[in-house]
């Protein structure tokens, strides 16, 4: 066989298998309750409606639905995205502002490809979506993390970073952020910080990449404006997807941005996969037009709210109190975030958890600087309410066994 070492490109050294996917393989045993995944609940899939639409579309419009389509996306599907943005977000865009992508993971790859040369500095959140870190990392960027709290990215920290690099006569290619119900921590960036963020982006001439896969999955509270709405024309690029609100297997998302950026990105998409599936676009298009999209989202949010509440109440019931253990209380999305006392290490505890037949994702996987060892991501969208309760119970038992004595005392004293 060919000498692989001699033949492989450098990117192979930069790209590791996703920690999540590898962990998931370990946790495939039926006795394990997995709070590790990020899958939508299949109960939310509008299968019957999609079956009717697919049958109709394939019988009557197969010459479009089964054919190659334009790289930019089918105009009729983009029209529906334009309508949703106008109605739901008060955002006015044209066909030229939209590139249809093979879900938002491809959008992340295209963002990386468009802007990143090796060693280019970019800004990401601490923690941040692991799939984005992977996608950008493949292009060899230098990732710099910005700390957040329960109100989202800390804009004071962001400004420090921007100022510092300006002093070095360098600049960040972009800031990547998941502002709504962030993956992994479930936190939403406040309206005030959003306004500060777009102001800083303008002042420091840095692009914002707004990745918002869960924005429609809001159970409660009031939505702040999209960064795209608040930002200056051309300073914000937004990534949307139908994976969480319709079905992941459609592999359907889009990038919204300035037409000059979208034009560039369309050219770069051509060699990636020529075009996104016309069938997926037509299924989604018909669903958005006639499938009862709003009612569907309402049902989905109701289900996930019940599950989120189940997880919060299980945490209150089972987790040791006053031990320096905290968790976020998301108003939407699929995840929440558990913080253990600093000396605890969720990487090391993972095998203990698996022994207790429960799984989570280690927090360090989401930190570009390797920090976050005392944190973990918990998913509430996929497991049932019963599994959530039992899963948290098992997790709490494991945590109690390993709580550092000294730390617990300090915490009590504080």
């Amino acid at each position: 066989m060919i000498d692989l070492v001699k033949n492989l490109a450098i990117v192979n050294r930069r790209t590791k298998a996703s920690v999540i996917r590898e962990l998931l393989k370990l946790t495939n045993k039926p006795e394990i309750i997995s709070l590790a995944g990020g899958l939508p609940d299949p109960k939310t899939f509008p299968s019957e409606i999609l079956a009717d639409i697919a049958s109709e579309v394939l019988r009557k419009q197969s010459h479009v639905a089964l054919q190659y389509g334009p790289t930019e996306g089918l105009p009729e599907f983009k029209e529906q995205v334009i309508r949703l943005l106008r109605e739901d977000e008060g955002i006015v865009v044209k066909q030229e502002n939209i590139l249809v992508t093979t879900a938002s993971q491809q959008a992340l790859d295209i963002v990386g490809r468009t802007f990143i040369d090796p060693s280019d500095p970019i800004l990401v959140e601490l923690p941040s979506y692991i799939g984005a870190l992977q996608a950008f990392n493949a292009y060899g960027c230098k990732m710099v993390g910005v700390q957040g709290d329960d109100d989202g990215l800390r804009t004071d920290e962001l400004e420090k970073r921007l100022l510092q690099l300006r002093k070095e006569e360098e600049h960040y290619k972009f800031i990547y952020i998941v502002p709504d119900f962030q993956n992994p921590n479930g936190v939403t960036l406040t309206e005030e910080r959003r306004r500060q963020m777009v102001k800083l982006a303008d002042e420091y001439s840095v692009m914002i990449i707004e990745d918002s896969p869960y924005r429609s999955v809001r159970f409660e509270g009031k939505a702040p404006h999209m960064l795209y709405k608040l930002g200056k024309h051309g300073n914000v690029v937004s990534l949307l997807t139908f994976s969480k609100v319709l079905a992941p297997s459609l592999r359907l998302g889009c990038i919204v941005g300035h037409e000059d950026v979208i034009k560039r990105m369309s050219i770069l998409k051509q060699p990636l996969d020529l075009c996104t599936s016309s069938l997926s676009q037509m299924l989604a298009c018909e669903f958005l037009k006639h499938g009862g999209y709003k009612e569907h989202i309402a049902r989905l949010c109701k289900l996930y709210k019940t599950k989120k509440d189940a997880m919060l109440s299980a945490l209150e019931r089972h987790m040791p109190e006053g031990e320096g253990i905290t968790w976020t209380k998301p108003e939407g999305g699929l995840f929440l975030w558990l913080r253990l006392p600093e000396p605890m290490n969720t990487d090391e505890l993972f095998s203990e958890a698996v022994k207790e037949n429960v799984a989570y994702v280690v927090g360090s996987a989401f930190h570009c600087d390797g920090s976050g060892h005392n944190t973990m991501r918990l998913n509430f969208s996929y497991p049932s309410e019963e599994q959530i309760d039992e899963g948290i119970r098992r997790l709490a038992r494991m945590v109690k066994t390993h709580l550092p004595r000294r730390c617990a005392r300090v915490s009590h004293a504080a």
Copy 2:
């Protein structure tokens, strides 16, 4: 708006919009007969059967069909690919030898990503598939062209190239080849040259990338063995797709190779799009199992043979004889290749052709060294028989008007 020039990655300078896609935009007028595209005839789409399958799969197996799937692909779909390779090609592979891709354009991107660092030399055919040139070019490789003839790639030329670089103590990362009914020229590599090619690959320790999207679309003649079958274990990576034999919009293909290579490629695919659509995989899987795949292919080949024959007879009828004009006679695929006398330039003649209301793809677009100015690609799969005849008539009229006098005379004298 952000200063794009300051922010764009180098790849933007390397990636041009596809000549074909840009030309197609010019030729969208209804009065133009386009022999330029590369689309399958929608009449070949098994729409009714796929509509039934989609309806069934979405109603009964939506928890898989609409969900995320493994990056490597669904095992049941891969099982069908394994069966086809065994039955049709006498090739025995396992699950670990297959990575399901978002059609073969993504496979080309993954090949580029896996092996190419900037300035790495690779070998391609003269001419070669433009989508592959684009995909590899994005990774900044140095492409070296190898001349072919009507028996496919010239292996004596290939050996010269390999020897030369060995003398310079360098090596090619891979040889990229479309051995069956090549896009653009419709030529098939002979069995003898295939055997020479795998021997050279072994001798010079160079990987062969065998891209074979049209292999099942054979109208006549006997198929030589796949390079994968002839090559040593691990020296050949083959790309397959269902775009031409089922439907492009499924965006479904796969890479077959040594398990070490496939493992690498799976890791690199994760940040590209996480996984290929489970729905597409299940539709294809069911079609391959119960949809009458063999009969479908037979019908498709019959239709395309009629169209290919129509184009050949139109060329014989309309093109000026004995003027140094030649064309290939493909035994399958979607394209044939027209060569005009050397001084003629199909780039320059393109606007003339459009005036005559006929379109082709300029041959130079398929040549990594910018040669091939006297050639053009003609597609026979999409236009009707009537359009083929009329299109060739218009093309011949334009060609006659611009035939170089001196050249014509030289040609007569020869």
